[in-house]
Point group: C2
């Protein structure tokens, strides 16, 4: 069973490498936390506020065993996996735990639950892998008679595979590793590898517009989706009769990224590809982040584009590849024409000033690529604050965005008395632009939650002022709601609220998320 106040299987817990421990101690002044993590028994959990008749009605929808009001179930469905979420849990704060966890087994059961909740004005938080890092599972409670986490974990089937069209239909609760196992039986793969891979679910990918490490080759999750089935409190919406259509606005794109606020996604039709014949991952070195960025841009604009590209800045390179100068890029190739694409991309990278530094770097990255959340637990245990910030913009604006966001985090935390290290990499590339993914580590202040919220606010301000999007792949949740409102403007927000008002007239779906 996974760690209730952190990430993943405790058996996979990481110990900080000595050079990292030394860096924390000497460069950042990190000291062991004043208080240990509370025990699960000691978590402060308010009594469930859900009236017994509502619990009974929910049990009528999904059977009694699938309505859970026990403390551990409730704690385990409290918020998500942002650093602030974990800091609060470690301190025993579960004040916003759901009153019950409801596990529907079918689309019809989801519909029935939504109707009961609408009738009794119970807030519903659709819950897939529980991996939100943006407060996407932290609903506004005010005005509701209770909150239920709608855990989609029982809806874990691969419904069908169409090998000719290379499409698969999944229920939303299928987690990414299970999706790969189920598809492998048919000779296919999804190839969607976000850092939350171990726990994140198909429904979560769709509702948050997730992007995986191999997005250059396989696209973002929203680009993989060909069809959706959505249960709302007022009925069902089914979309997707063709890969592309001119039949009006693409309404799939209205539910993708809607974060459970417009409906509950109960089936997702996604593009799949044959299990790759081959995979190679290798390192390249550039003298500067600017040179490396230019190289990635050339690959994205003129090809051939590898399946995966990722470029660390000088700081991330220094921390990640002890002693290496310049900037390291990791480049991955998958599929049936690896040699050809690799040769072509290699020419582009070399022309742009890159030097190959071997497959060892690539293999090490592949081996550790889902470890960051385990590393964060180790950092929190050591008394450090560790969190990430991400954004994207067009290529011409990328250098200024990088400078602005990096400086905002450096300045805010330094002024706070906890000078950080800030590491960055380009994580996803497109013809017109790219994303930036920043990792921040510093000593925890006395109130680390307030400390991070202050730094995050500074970063959000910098992103918006520099013209970046408030989130490239983490989604809006509650953490980005005000930035999102600024990004799409008041009429954009009003348009979304109008849709929500129509599909969710009692406003029970993930209140407070996305549109505030």
């Amino acid at each position: 069973m996974s760690l209730w106040y952190g990430w993943g299987d405790p058996a996979n817990a990481l110990v900080l490498p000595p050079h990292v421990a030394a860096l924390l101690d000497q460069a950042l002044g990190v000291r062991p936390p004043a208080s240990p993590v509370v025990s699960l028994d000691a978590v402060r959990l308010p009594p469930s506020s859900l009236a017994p008749d509502i619990v009974a009605e929910l049990a009528d929808c999904v059977s009694a065993e699938h309505v859970r009001v026990g403390a551990e179930d409730r704690v385990r469905h409290t918020r998500g996996k942002s650093t602030v979420d974990l800091l609060r849990l470690r301190a025993g704060e579960a004040d916003d735990a759901p009153d019950a966890v409801v596990l529907p087994g079918t689309h019809e059961e989801v519909e029935a639950v939504l109707q009961v909740c609408a009738e009794h004005r119970v807030a519903v938080v659709p819950y897939g892998g529980g991996t939100s890092v943006v407060g996407g599972l932290a609903p506004a409670r005010s005005g509701f008679s209770g909150v239920v986490a709608l855990d989609l974990g029982r809806m874990d089937r691969l419904i069908s595979v169409d090998p000719v069209s290379r499409l698969a239909v999944f229920e939303p609760g299928v987690r990414a590793p299970a999706a790969e196992r189920l598809l492998a039986d048919h000779g296919f793969s999804l190839g969607h590898y976000p850092q939350s891979f171990e726990y994140a679910s198909i429904g979560g990918f769709a509702s948050t517009r997730s992007s995986g490490q191999f997005s250059a080759g396989y696209g973002r999750f929203d680009e993989m989706v060909a069809g959706l089935r959505v249960a709302t409190p007022v009925g069902t919406v089914e979309l997707g009769r063709a890969p592309r259509s001119a039949a009006g606005p693409d309404l799939r794109q209205l539910f993708l990224g809607s974060e459970g606020t417009l409906g509950v996604i109960t089936a997702v039709t996604v593009r799949v590809h044959p299990t790759p014949a081959e995979q190679i991952c290798e390192g390249w070195s550039f003298s500067s982040f600017a040179d490396g960025t230019t190289a990635l841009r050339r690959l994205a604009q003129d090809g051939p584009l590898p399946t995966m590209v990722r470029l660390s800045d000088e700081y991330e390179t220094a921390v990640g590849s002890a002693g290496a100068g310049g900037c390291v890029a990791v480049v991955g190739y998958e599929g049936s024409s690896v040699a050809q694409v690799r040769a072509g991309a290699g020419r582009v990278l070399r022309d742009a000033g890159g030097s190959p530094i071997g497959e060892g770097v690539g293999e090490e990255w592949m081996r550790t690529r889902f470890q960051a959340p385990y590393l964060r637990d180790a950092l929190l245990n050591a008394g450090a604050l560790a969190e990430t910030v991400e954004t994207a913009t067009f290529w011409s604006a990328l250098p200024a965005l990088y400078d602005a966001v990096r400086s905002s985090l450096m300045d805010a935390l330094t002024l706070h008395g906890t000078p950080p290290i800030v590491l960055c990499h380009v994580s996803h590339v497109y013809s017109a632009g790219a994303s930036l993914y920043l990792t921040v580590v510093c000593a925890q202040a006395a109130d680390p939650v307030a400390q991070w919220q202050m730094a995050k606010e500074a970063a959000n301000r910098a992103i918006l002022d520099a013209g970046g999007t408030i989130t490239h792949h983490h989604a809006v949740g509650t953490d980005h709601a005000s930035g999102f409102a600024e990004e799409i403007g008041p009429l954009g927000i009003e348009a979304l609220k109008a849709v929500k008002q129509r599909l969710d007239p009692t406003g029970i779906l993930n209140p407070g998320v996305l549109v505030g």
Copy 2:
């Protein structure tokens, strides 16, 4: 000046080739039309119903010279270019002409016009190239004090080019040939070549989700769009801070395909690419449509994907390439690695049973690729009925969709006493599916408008029953409004209406189009 009752420059008018004329006469029983085309003077045009004070207010917005109420201006802005539109004009029917043509020069002027029209409840039909073939310019008049065509032709600037991000910002009234000329000065191309290329506009491409002949290489127009500025009666929406984002639903996708019902697009940021170094177009022959379709699917799924692919069925091949058996595909390559892609694609096509038949076929196709609307005029002149139907679905459903739509048109028109020829080609391919484009030619019945509407209704029914989308790239307009409602379902329609109600509370924007 272009032909008011048909297509394009009269100097480019086509004469039917003898074998086509013979086919019409002998196989289809086409006879010269009973009545000639009326003269422009003889068109039955209702008096302009717009009150003088409203005309004056509109003149205050855009200056008097840009508010036109003359007969020819009104006739030339009547409906679009569907066969039914043309048949009616040829017969002198301009009952649904706009009461005035208003030509704004700036975003602010568009906003001002919308405010005047909202205040006086005047319907506004955004007008780009005027090339709609789905009744997208045929507004419902009922309940309005008048209808104005908002001709965006004066907003014809290339606003800016970002060569690093390969993005260009256009005003909506730029027509496709002008867009290419403007970009060529910067070394770039858009590469969007729908059959309406000669007249269609950037704003129209965006608002209808247009798809061009080279979509395999450059994407559909909606896939090229990175940003939008939209004027609504209640304010401005600006979208697009990054190529991709997880900041909620992608609202760009709400305005793309909205066909002027949610706002007027006043600026479009699009991806561009360097002027191609080379272009080759060649023919391939397959023994059957099924074999050819499989070949195209392999290219789309495993690559390398040419810039353009198009596969005619046996019937279209027989008519188009007199005497050729089997099915002909035209495959085009553009860019800087033509030789490599061509060699790779050639291997795939050969493996799938294709035989190369040379560049002559490709060159001839390139030379005549924008001639179809001229050919239609010639067919109408000869007394034939000629129109097109298009749809798309996933690969596994494509053969059944083809059979169903083809049969529906054959049966409906044969039962009507005018047995048609029905030709089809696959016009656009994706990893998961493809589009079908059917051309129908038969003798005109006594009431050709009713004749086609009956056939079209049969085709729409067949498309929906076979699981296809009601339109892959022609858009919804009024002709597909009921099919669209069936395709996205009542809640989908309600969601769109909710947005419209918020952004266009008086309902003046293209009433009757899209959401009925």
